[in-house]
């Protein structure tokens, strides 16, 4: 071994002895410290997907609308009229736990860059947040700072945050989840890919100067926390949305005018990953001269410059001879710019400091040939064991149960969160946060885009396979309620330590379940992110796959609300009420149990329900459509009442289920539709065509929430509890 690479140093770089041997094989010699650093970040879980690659093959990634599947900065889906949407979701869990404000903010910044590097203008953000127990001392602080970080970054750069979800569970006490989604819009002929080409073309550095921020961030994101890592205090990345705005405009301008060949964000593993990945896609090499990299600190070593994760930086390949034009555009936007290298024929990443070569590594060794493991899987003891209904006590006062549920932070109004987000900037937002799906208009067309992000930690814990199917179905149902056709999915897979066979089993099951549901419903997965090692002191999070689903609306005029619109309207509840209520919020909150068998998922029935929703929307009968999810029928019905303060009387319920099961069970195929009195027959014939049953019906109006003989409450009481529930965390 060389002086540089003792076994201790190798271990500090997160590389196993076998991986080190592989490096030596690739190079035909021992690496020096700079090269070891390159391998360490590129072979980290975060960059190489070494534990997940093998399993991700199970996801369908093709479809007739797919213009770009996984493997690029983001996925692209055709939406007709020469337009396409570009989207991706990504985690920023570890940085957000250490420094919640900056961690969350730079998470948003990172995902925005992934979108605009493809030539698209970002038009909407979503986020999925999971925090620890509501009564954990750190939860209020983390929640407040994460939301502030997301809001400030999005608001400053002028991209609306149009929706999201917030969950609480003790399993996230030591590992919160912050997943950020962004969607951009691009014309087909303006799509840009990150493929380095043209021997001799200059490699140009743009954006903020390089500091020692987040060195080994990618390796950190691939490591479990130990208690005390709050004290570890690595160089945290600080976001600068104003610089990012300049970067966005400058990049789009450069692409517009065809002055550049390729571009990639310097995200995790900074200069190293952006250069080697662009070279790898183009089958060429890149030579970098680090002495040309703009720096904001003195005395930085080549190792530090290569591995820095300073934010708001891009690496691009320009046409030879047009360097000056490129710099002019960038300087106009006030950005630092420097030629830092060139494309070379030999497929290596060659790193120089002035004249001196400080490292040289074959590009494929860093990218395609990175290790991939089929790690051991082992099923844990079954968690989804059924519990007989008789063992669950029947509540005496069902109204009280509803009040408790609707006032719990998970189900209460999230207005505290989304009032901090600008959700109308750019003036495309038709439906903002708090509905089933957010809806955006596409100016100049009749079309709209619908967006939703979903997860279900209880279901995924109890049965990861079935749970993942439910999440896909939930997303698709949310889109159905606004009459959108689902066109693509992006996923963020948050799991514990993949070296534990139980975690790997959860991962495999989740991916398989997701794959089955996506195939059955015909939706491709076009981008995503895997976040492993969400673990503190040996205790991992429950499996938490998060799915963002994007839908296309052909005619925006027809989009119904999710809330009741008019007194005197009729309401009908359609679908199937199933027996099982394992994993429901009702069981978790009122009976303190995360047990039970989760409801089965019949994908054919889901398709019928979607078909029905779409026809109801198209027909124009419906004044509102809302699907039933967490909290069951009773909660969903209350949600319909809140926006416009319209009461409801459900007078006909057809069921032989126990009332609490019917009210709070989370059957996956129920929708609530309100419509003009007199349209009943037309609506029922649509239902009949799609083989959908009517479960209950009633009338809108008044100021009470009344459900059969089971619940009768003043609506104002429910509104109050629902409105305040979330803020009681603080």
């Amino acid at each position: 071994m060389t002086e540089a690479c003792t076994s201790e140093i190798i271990e500090q770089h997160g590389l196993s002895p076998e991986e080190y041997d592989r490096i030596v094989q690739f190079l035909g010699r021992e690496p020096n410290l700079v090269e070891l650093g390159l391998f360490s970040v590129m072979w980290s879980e975060h960059c190489s997907y070494k534990s997940s690659r093998f399993f991700l093959k199970n996801l369908p990634t093709r479809g007739k609308r797919v213009l770009q599947g996984p493997g690029e900065n983001a996925g692209i889906i055709d939406i007709g009229e020469g337009l396409a949407v570009v989207f991706k979701i990504e985690s920023h869990n570890h940085p957000s736990f250490i420094e919640p404000y900056q961690g969350a903010a730079t998470g948003v910044g990172g995902i925005l860059r992934d979108i605009f590097t493809m030539g698209a203008r970002p038009i909407a953000n979503l986020n999925s947040l999971h925090f620890g127990a509501v009564d954990h001392p750190r939860t209020p602080y983390l929640l407040e700072r994460v939301v502030a970080g997301i809001g400030d970054y999005g608001n400053c750069i002028g991209v609306p945050t149009v929706g999201g979800e917030v969950h609480f569970d003790p399993c996230y006490n030591g590992n919160i989840l912050v997943n950020a989604f962004c969607l951009g819009l691009v014309e087909h002929d303006k799509i840009f890919r990150a493929k380095a080409q043209g021997i001799g073309n200059p490699v140009i550095y743009v954006g903020s100067k390089t500091g020692r921020d987040g060195i080994h961030g990618a390796t950190m994101a691939s490591d479990a926390f130990e208690v005390g890592s709050k004290e570890r205090r690595p160089q945290v990345q600080v976001g600068d949305p104003f610089t990012e705005k300049l970067l966005l405009e400058a990049c789009l301008e450069l692409m517009q005018e065809g002055k550049i060949v390729a571009i990639q964000d310097m995200g995790a593993a900074g200069l190293t990953s952006s250069s080697s990945e662009m070279a790898s896609r183009g089958g060429v090499g890149i030579e970098l001269d680090l002495s040309q990299v703009p720096r904001r600190e003195t005395g930085m070593t080549p190792y530090e410059v290569l591995l820095s994760e300073s934010q708001e930086r891009m690496l691009l390949v320009a046409e030879k001879g047009r360097e000056k034009e490129v710099s002019q555009v960038l300087q106009k936007w006030g950005l630092d710019v420097a030629v830092v290298g060139k494309v070379i024929e030999r497929p290596v990443l060659r790193v120089c400091e002035g004249e001196e070569v400080v490292g040289e590594v074959p590009v494929v060794a860093l990218t395609d040939e990175a290790p991939a493991y089929q790690r051991q899987r082992k099923a844990p003891a079954p968690r989804g064991k059924d519990i007989p209904i008789s063992e669950i006590p029947t509540p005496k006062d069902l109204g009280r149960s509803l009040t408790q549920l609707i006032g719990s932070p998970v189900l209460a109004s999230k207005h505290w969160v989304f009032e901090q987000y600008d959700h109308t900037v750019q003036t495309n937002t038709v439906v903002g946060p708090g509905a089933d799906a957010a809806v955006l208009r596409l100016k100049g067309t009749k079309k709209g885009i619908a967006l939703t992000v979903d997860s279900n930690r209880s279901y995924s814990y109890l049965d990861p396979y079935l749970g993942a199917m439910h999440i896909v179905a939930e997303g698709v149902r949310n889109l159905g309620c606004v009459g959108a056709e689902p066109i693509g999915i992006t996923n963020c897979l948050n799991f514990g330590n993949p070296q534990r066979p139980e975690v790997m089993w959860e991962f495999e099951q989740s991916v398989l379940g997701m794959g089955e549901a996506c195939r059955a419903l015909g939706i491709p997965v076009v981008s995503g992110n895997v976040s492993f090692y969400n673990e503190t002191s040996g205790k991992g999070i429950d499996p938490t796959p998060v799915i963002a689903t994007v839908g296309l609306i052909e005619d925006l005029q027809a989009v119904p609300s999710s809330s009741f619109q008019k007194e005197g309207d009729r309401v009908a509840i359609f679908g199937r009420a199933t027996q099982g209520f394992g994993g429901s919020e009702y069981l978790r909150l009122l009976h303190r149990q995360k047990v039970g068998k989760i409801p089965p998922m019949d994908l054919e029935e889901q398709k019928q329900l979607l078909q029905f929703c779409r026809e109801v929307v198209r027909s124009g009968f419906a004044h509102s459509v809302h699907d039933v999810s967490k909290g069951g029928i009773a909660v969903a019905l209350a949600e319909c009442c809140f926006s416009n303060g319209i009461g409801v009387q459900i007078d006909r319920v057809e069921t032989d289920l126990r009332p609490d099961l019917w009210l709070f069970g989370e059957s996956p195929d129920i929708v609530i539709v309100s419509y003009k009195a007199g349209e009943e027959r037309s609506l029922l014939s649509l239902a009949k065509n799609s083989k959908i049953n009517v479960l209950a019906s009633g009338t809108l109006g008044g100021d009470r929430y009344s459900m059969e003989s089971w619940i009768d409450l003043p609506l104002s009481q429910l509104v109050e509890v629902w409105g305040k529930g979330f803020e009681e965390i603080f």
Binding site: I98, E99, Q102, S208, G211, R212, D213, R233, Q235, V236, Q237, V238, D240, F242, T243, R296, E297, S310, Q311, G334
Partner: protein, 83 residues
């Protein structure tokens, strides 16, 4: 009463976008030769105690719990005695 003055600065190497804006503004106002600007903050806190050591203890604790974000900031303070 005892007066404490607490100086909080971003740690060396942490990006300071605000400082950067000030630096550029100075340049645009024709102040030549400004090599770097870092912006921090100062707190003045009046404490009821007369005991210097107790004041130090309290200030340390305030910094740890609220005034300073130890992940990205460093701090220093002086106890100035009775004003």
């Amino acid at each position: 009463m005892t007066k404490a003055k607490i100086y909080v600065m971003l740690k060396e190497g942490v990006l300071d976008p605000q400082g950067g804006v000030i630096q550029r503004s100075l340049a645009s106002l024709s102040f030549k030769g400004v090599a770097k600007v870092r912006q921090g903050k100062v707190f003045e806190i009046l404490l009821e105690t007369h005991d210097r050591r107790e004041a130090e203890r309290q200030v340390q604790e305030m910094c740890r719990q609220l005034l300073v974000n130890p992940v990205i900031e460093r701090y220093d303070f002086v106890i100035e005695g009775t004003p």
